[in-house]
């Protein structure tokens, strides 16, 4: 084994459990992340061009809260499967990595300043929004840095020459394309989110809702089209052994890639046609496929180094079972709370 790759710890249950949990929770986090990053950037753009925004931006702090919250489980499960690589990559770039925390706090407060001051103090609100956007972009940049460095353990050696934690994975060819890919997808998904928000927020004003939905879907379509460029750039910036898995190297990965291209083309069409539901359905499918492809890509990167299937496990099933029960109960509780909040009894 390469001397700078730490030994992994034993996992409690079969690795596939964690793989599934990682996929499911990452998809949820990714949706929220797209909404907050893209939503913030779109809100900022709307402010800059003085375009009258819909009131979706008021939800940004809530979305950010949920994004951070939903970021916890994938971060947890990825550490269970890839912790030994993840921690090493984190330490290698410790300083910019830990700065994500104050960045998130300030970004969070920035979004609250924007929401609470947008009518009373537009300048302050604008500043809050801009700061928030910048810091969320920074957070995304660091997450991309960390996740790409985790894939190339041979580059951990940079820590030996600079152990102060001031490294970044700038030398990674796929870093910027991957980052751009995420930003554009975030904007696209956020535009879709705005459309959905408008559908519910302006129930009483269908023409306004329709206008926002159509314009948002157009934005969605354009940014999805842009993804054909950025996504391809990202794909081809990875090592040959990696991108080849989507070109017949791995049949499942190839099928996923081809299908997602076709679905994407289809959803651009439906978006330009202003059809929200079918576009949303397409988008969700593409997003799920992208997340699965991301895992295939990770396997390909680490193929000669590590596979989670090699992890030793303790077969400790009870804690998993209790978690699953409580997870379902938690979902039930959330459903109950939302019902309670929107209950007609509240009028009494």
């Amino acid at each position: 084994m390469d001397p700078v790759i730490p030994s992994p710890d034993i996992i409690p249950v079969h690795w596939l459990w964690f793989q599934i949990l990682l996929l499911v929770t990452f998809i949820l986090h990714l949706i929220m992340m797209n909404l907050i990053l893209g939503g913030t950037l779109l809100a900022l753009w709307d402010k800059v061009v003085n375009r009258k925004e819909s009131n979706y931006a008021g939800t940004l702090p809530v979305i950010l809260a949920l994004t951070i919250n939903l970021g916890v489980p994938p971060l947890l499960f990825v550490q269970v499967l890839y912790g030994h690589l993840f921690y090493s990559a984190s330490v290698t770039q410790a300083v910019p990595w830990i700065l994500v925390i104050p960045a998130l706090i300030l970004g969070y407060y920035g979004s609250y300043i924007y929401v609470s001051k947008r009518n009373k103090s537009p300048q302050l609100a604008m500043t809050g929004l801009a700061v928030s956007a910048l810091l969320i972009l920074y957070t995304g940049f660091m997450l991309v840095n960390n996740s790409t460095l985790t894939l190339v353990p041979e580059r951990f050696a940079m820590h030996l020459n600079n152990p102060g934690g001031w490294n970044l994975n700038i030398g990674e060819p796929s870093l910027w394309p991957r980052y751009l890919h995420f930003i554009t997808s975030a904007i696209a998904i956020a535009a879709l989110g705005i459309a959905i928000h408008a559908k519910f927020a302006f129930k009483d004003d269908p023409s306004k809702a329709d206008m926002i939905i159509k314009s948002s879907l157009r934005r969605f379509a354009w940014f999805t089209l842009a993804q054909f460029i950025f996504g391809t750039l990202f794909w081809l910036s990875t090592p040959k052994e990696v991108w080849m898995i989507f070109m017949g190297g791995n049949m499942t990965a190839t099928i996923l890639m081809v299908t997602s291209w076709l679905l994407s083309a289809s959803m651009v069409y439906t978006a330009f046609r202003g059809r929200l539901n079918i576009t949303l359905f397409h988008a969700l499918l593409v997003l799920i496929m992208m997340v699965i492809m991301r895992e295939y890509m990770r396997f390909a990167y680490l193929r000669d180094i590590f596979s989670p299937s090699h992890l030793e496990n303790k077969d400790e099933l009870w804690p998993l079972l209790v978690f699953l029960i409580l997870f379902i109960a938690g979902l039930g509780a959330i459903y109950y709370m939302i019902r309670l909040a929107t209950s007609k009894n509240n009028e009494s």
């Binding site: 921690y87 984190s90 959330i334 509240n346």
Partner: protein, 882 residues
């Protein structure tokens, strides 16, 4: 070991953890207690129909949401980030062990967030009942979140049965779970009360403000009793060692104990002011102080919990530096650098010696220490020598159980000590002391075997009298050199003269003014309780005098001779000449013997300070002060302060010691047990070298006290055992004292296999028995095996120095002083310790050797009258020094 180390020489990772953790922990507790506070205050508002109070709840909810959800939530992730950067191994362990606990906690967390968002955004837009349900649900989820996290946090200190089973549930519901859950719940309520004051301040209505403040005060004081009781409960469930670390051994804890006491007084004292209707500005100041103090207060608790857990980050499972206890033995054998995956250096060489030490520091120490800032090591080692630092590393994890043991080979340990000393402290590498030994000479007094009727045999009782020679700061060995003599009237059956004669002694001329070379007579009253005339010993002996006959043995008792000559030469072997006169006053015999005396106590080798006397010998003030500093640290004494006030102490005031004749305090270890027991932990595995570090036995030193024939093929450990053996036997002699167990806990015997095999002994009264090897008085040429270690002379009268043969002759009279038995070799003057054998028989061997019975007997002897195996013992070695 397994993971890279974030190099933070300035701030250190643990400070970063502390900063984020304290902020998070306060807010996280507020998130729990505050939830209950909100819903109960809302209830109260409805019950009292107080719409103003309800408005307060609404505004407080907004503040609560902004603080707990943003700052609390993100700093929670922040702790995760920072511990993964500083303690990746521990983080990985906790994640893998408790992944589903974390996942469950996340379920509660997201439910908590949804509840809070609804509670806030739908305030006033829901029915009272539904809104209250939402409030209660928030609190329940928040408390359940605490419930889970608390289990993991408590596990880190009290893993309980998990250590044996590795079972998830045993780990989560560990012995510390319940008390800390109660404790943290009480703290959550208190913090809710304190933070409730913040929003109350913004209420302009005086009456409302006062109502809220009183309400908040209730939140602060009612849980206080629960808090105190659960804290006591907690002390019962945690490991005794962990509690001892907090209360006694880890000096780091002192500041945090004080912080908790003082901040508690301020917090709950100042809190009372909220009950008084002060002007708003003054209330503002009070509340600001209270909130600030809350953070410090919480920081005190969290720090103390951290300290209790040391040296582990996960108790008995993972050390703070990421090494597992079970790995230490392998690392010690194969090397730390070779085992550390992230080391740039894989092996210590002469070329990279210090650099390799620095690498070890970064990889093994940096998780807790910085170089010279927060918890910096620089000030911890600056009073030590390089050798002392090495000893400190050896002792880590033993007596100071809050440090993990050093992991690595002895070369790596030396390299780390070298880096700390040479690079961090910037000091020159130590070079071994270059001692120039002056050539001394002696005259062998005349003896005519045909005409002389008397033989006078003279010897020092213990073979080397060490003197602590400081007195201003501390003292433990006064100048007190005792010489014994036997006067024999020659005959076919010689007679030992018990009395009636006069035996007078006189020291060498250059040694007659000890008062010019020591402060003993300045501090004798303070230290020994006797105001002695100068150059007078504790029993009144001076530089010359008459020996006293005690049961037939002539004694010059405790002459205060020093090794310093008036001309500036260090001579640890001054001669004392004794002249015997018959009752008529005629000189019948005269001889000389060395009064071995050394001030070469090697405390400075580790404690620094150098030698006090001409860079050759003597315990310097700086050394002594450093010693007291350490003593105070470990034993909670105030010796340093006393010494600085001009009140030096004799160690034996407290530590009993037969050689100094002090009873000491029976509740604490005797001097020998204590000093050997303590230092054995720091000088482990060094065999003879450890003896030489403290005692003047170093062959290249200024004394080299091992002069006897045994020195040719034995060393100190041959009879006394290694320092571990030596210490364990002494400690076992006082096994009834708790401290003995603590000092012995980390020591492993070398000469025997187990603690059970060790025979306990009392210092000075039970010494290694010569018959351990010399069974039946045989000698080497007869062939023997064994060791004197663990075969103690059963009491004072059986000791070599006190024992006689079948005829009343003392063993030492014919064989010489302990540690200098004939024929001895002295580095100052080769035959200096053999004066009487040379005087009476011309051979530097035992009196009577090589059929020299005629030294005393006027006829040839053929029987072994003194002891078995006595005659016809031809031992070649005695001739070599002629």
């Amino acid at each position: 070991m397994n993971y890279p180390v974030w190099y933070l020489p300035g701030t250190g990772g643990s400070l970063l953890i502390a900063i984020i953790a304290i902020i998070h922990v306060v807010i996280a507790h507020f998130a729990v207690g505050g939830g209950l506070f909100l819903v109960l205050t809302e209830h109260k508002a409805y019950r009292t129909k107080d719409s103003a109070l309800l408005n307060y709840v609404k505004s407080h909810t907004w503040f609560f949401l902004l603080l707990t959800m943003v700052m609390g939530g993100v700093t929670g992730v922040g702790i995760w980030f920072i511990i993964a950067l500083v303690h990746p191994a521990a983080t990985s362990f906790l994640i893998h062990q408790f992944v589903f606990a974390w996942a469950i906690e996340w379920v509660f967390f997201i439910a908590e967030i949804v509840a809070l968002l609804i509670y806030h955004y739908r305030f006033g837009k829901m029915s009272r009942r539904n809104h209250l349900i939402m409030g209660w649900l928030y609190f329940i989820f928040a408390w359940l979140s605490l419930f889970v996290i608390n289990g993991i946090l408590a596990f880190m200190l009290t893993p309980g049965r998990w250590l044996e089973t590795g079972n998830f549930w045993h780990g989560l519901f560990n012995p510390g779970f319940l008390p800390t859950l109660i404790f943290r719940t009480a703290i959550a309520a208190i913090i809710a009360g304190v933070f409730g004051l913040i929003t109350a301040l913004f209420k302009k209505d005086k009456a409302l403000r006062q109502t809220i403040m009183k309400w908040c005060a209730g939140w602060m004081y009612i849980p206080l009793a629960i808090l105190a009781l659960s804290a006591l409960y907690y002390t019962v469930v945690i490991d005794a060692e962990a509690l001892a670390n907090i209360l006694h051994f880890n000096p780091e804890s002192i500041i945090f104990r004080k912080i908790i006491v003082y901040t508690s007084i301020i917090l709950f004292g100042l809190g009372l002011f909220t009950l008084i209707r002060f002007p708003r500005k003054l209330q503002g100041v009070t509340v600001t102080l209270l909130v600030t103090i809350t953070f410090v207060w919480m920081g005190g608790f969290e720090y103390l919990r951290e300290i209790a857990r040391k040296p582990y980050v996960i108790y008995e499972t993972l050390y703070s530096n990421g090494i597992r206890p079970g790995e230490i033995e392998d690392i010690n054998a194969s090397g730390f650098l070779a085992a550390a995956r992230w080391s740039r250096i894989k092996e210590v060489t002469d070329e990279n010696f210090s650099e390799a030490g620095g690498e070890i520091f970064r990889l093994q120490c940096l998780s807790c220490h910085t170089e010279n800032n927060y918890n910096g090591v620089k000030n911890k080692v600056e009073l030590m020598t390089e050798r002392g630092i090495e000893a400190q590393l050896t002792g880590m994890g033993k007596i100071n159980t809050y440090m993990p043991p050093f992991a690595g080979t002895s070369t790596e340990k030396k390299a780390l000590a070298a880096w700390l000393y040479r690079e961090l402290l910037g000091k020159e590498a130590e070079v071994p002391q270059q001692v120039v030994i002056p050539e001394l000479s002696h005259k062998v007094p005349p003896f005519d075997p045909l005409d002389d009727d008397y033989v006078l045999l003279l010897w020092n009782d213990i073979g080397m009298k060490c003197i602590s020679d400081n007195d201003k700061i501390l003292a433990f060995l006064p100048p007190a050199n005792t010489l014994n003599a036997q006067l024999i009237q020659r005959a076919s059956k010689p007679v030992i003269i018990p009395d009636g004669y006069t035996l007078s002694w006189e020291t060498e001329e250059q040694h007659r003014n000890p008062q010019d070379h020591t402060r003993f007579w300045e501090y004798d009253s303070l230290v020994y309780g006797k105001d002695l005339p100068v150059a007078t010993g504790l029993t009144g002996s001076q530089m010359s005098g008459e020996m006293v006959s005690v049961n037939g043995l002539w004694v010059a008792d405790r002459i205060p001779i020093m090794p310093y000559r008036d001309d500036g030469v260090y001579n640890p072997y001054p001669l004392i000449t004794v002249t015997a006169r018959n009752p008529e006053g005629n000189v019948v015999a005269r001889t000389s013997a060395v009064a071995p005396v050394s001030t070469g106590m090697g405390c400075r080798n580790c404690h620094g300070g150098g030698w006090s006397w001409n860079n050759v010998s003597g315990l310097a003030d700086k050394t002594a002060l450093n010693i007291l500093r350490v003593h105070d640290k470990y034993s909670g004494t105030t010796l340093l302060e006393d010494a600085e006030k001009g009140v030096p102490r004799l160690c034996q005031e407290c530590h009993a010691d037969p050689i100094v004749g002090r009873q000491g305090n029976p509740e604490i270890l005797n001097f020998s047990s204590s000093i050997h027991g303590f230092h054995a932990n720091y000088l482990t595995g060094m065999y003879q070298e450890s003896c030489n570090l403290c005692h003047p036995s170093e062959p290249a030193g200024a004394t080299n006290c091992m002069r006897g024939r045994h020195a040719d093929f034995l060393d100190c450990t041959s009879c006394h055992g290694t320092i571990e053996d030596h210490a364990l036997a002494l400690l076992k002699g006082e096994a009834q004292l708790k401290k003995a167990g603590r000092l012995a806990a980390s020591l492993k015997p070398v000469s025997v296999t187990t603690w059970e095999e060790i025979n306990p002994r009392t210092p000075w009264l039970m010494e290694p028995d010569c018959r351990g090897c010399h069974t039946n008085f045989n000698i080497a040429v007869d062939g023997f095996e064994g060791s004197a270690y663990n075969r103690w002379a059963p009491g004072a009268t059986a000791l070599y120095r006190n024992r006689t043969d079948n005829q009343g002759m003392m063993c030492a009279a014919c064989h010489g002083s302990p540690h200098a038995i004939y024929g001895a070799y002295n580095i100052y003057d080769p035959m200096r310790d053999n004066i009487q054998p040379l005087q009476y028989q011309g051979l530097a061997g035992t009196i009577g050797t090589h059929e020299s019975c005629r030294v005393c007997h006027t006829i040839d002897m053929v029987t072994s009258g003194h002891h078995r195996n006595q005659v016809n013992r031809l031992y070649e070695a005695v001739l070599q020094y002629e």
